[in-house]
Symmetry: C2
Amino acid sequence: MELWFTEDQTRDVRISCRVKKVLFSGRSQFQEVAVYDTDEYGRLLALDNIIQTNIWDEFIYHESLTHVGLNTHPNPKKVLLIGGGDGGSVREIVKHKEIEKIVHVEIDQMVIDVAKEFFPELSSGFSDPRVEIIVDDGIKHVQENKNTYDVIMVDSPDPIGPAVGLYGDEFYRNVAGALKEDGLLVAQTESPFFNRDLISRVNATMKNIFPVVRMFLGIVPTYPGGAWTFTVGSKKYDPLEVETDKLPDLNTKWYSPQMHRSVFTLPPIFRELVKE
Amino acid sequence: MELWFTEDQTRDVRISCRVKKVLFSGRSQFQEVAVYDTDEYGRLLALDNIIQTNIWDEFIYHESLTHVGLNTHPNPKKVLLIGGGDGGSVREIVKHKEIEKIVHVEIDQMVIDVAKEFFPELSSGFSDPRVEIIVDDGIKHVQENKNTYDVIMVDSPDPIGPAVGLYGDEFYRNVAGALKEDGLLVAQTESPFFNRDLISRVNATMKNIFPVVRMFLGIVPTYPGGAWTFTVGSKKYDPLEVETDKLPDLNTKWYSPQMHRSVFTLPPIFRELVKE
């Protein structure tokens, strides 16, 4: 039997991977949820037929989204994660011992359930007593919780359908409102090859709200184009001014004190997106 | 009509792109040569059904292979390029005005002919009077030309079939012999995700031959895994000791003086490949 999962990465490019077994397939209130056991990537989570995460390369995305911001803030006590129901980001966040409270707002209960059942390597952090999971809309949560968080991380899906609101001016203003006066935001901001207009718009929007805005890069082989961007919006602390030689060892495979700085070095073709 | 080109990137992963038109298809003495006009990537060259280059992302690979090494050597006068018959590397090499002679050894005349006809954006450097094209085996050329070159660049295909010899101990020793006493080599060394054993072996082999060995990274969306490695083997000059603020502007889209340094910063999962 030849079973293949195929994602349309763009209208004209597809990635396919061989599937050993379909482990789960369901439709939640929000999206189609599927878990495949694949030969190359191990277990893989697809939402609306788009690869969200997989055992093989997930660490790069999750370490990037979390440690850069958490190590930029000198004393993060209360943090918020929006999205990322697979648990990979929570697993990285709980490595920071100085954090007292981790609020995780995920809109889709089915993603959390699937993560607990099929991705124990990712969802292991859910059992940390500092983690509170709230099944709700992150957009609403930041509207309703003012001046509350030190660091907010946005682990959003692609800007399609309901997730469009996670890339807009109003959302970032509400995030800024939910942050304390020295708080900072880190958001995944899509592909620097395929989402160039979005990145430029998000960057300009954030610069209207935050005094410090910095884009950095990761590599996610299973995302379109391989390169991936993340953007920091900060009220006070600059990720480039961190004393990286004092950073703790977080048992990471992608992030490191050296990487903390170098991921912000952008090639000219990406610098032009953020007018640096 | 739906026409798609599909490459098996590994046994279990495929990339496909929509094709507007098949511009060329032939078989040379060495390989199957095809040129497609694609919707996403523009014109694309495939050898034995593996994407070699395309108009859309070629600059990253070609700028990486050439400028890091040429800017590490303080005075490159005579340089050798092995492989890379598409011309993209030559186009970047000729930007270095201090070079007096560029020997380009490509084994397959058909690749050169196809580049001239279908890839004028890549092959434009062939007309530079400093360029001499020799249709021959690069392995033989470095055996026969001792103590000749300041910089040698190896733009090799994947380590399959006849190209296996471009990754072996004997080849690197002959390259070292073809270099002058302060010369240096830059070779593309495949994917840090999918060719990990090869990279470790090549790195160890080079360290037996060259006092300075450094691996660096690029991102090539159309190559397996997105991330790509290049390795410098140098008799004297260290790419990390270059005074990057004195480097000339080379009208590049990927390489820059800042990137010259940061591409050598490896995440832990790649550092372990080279025991750094």
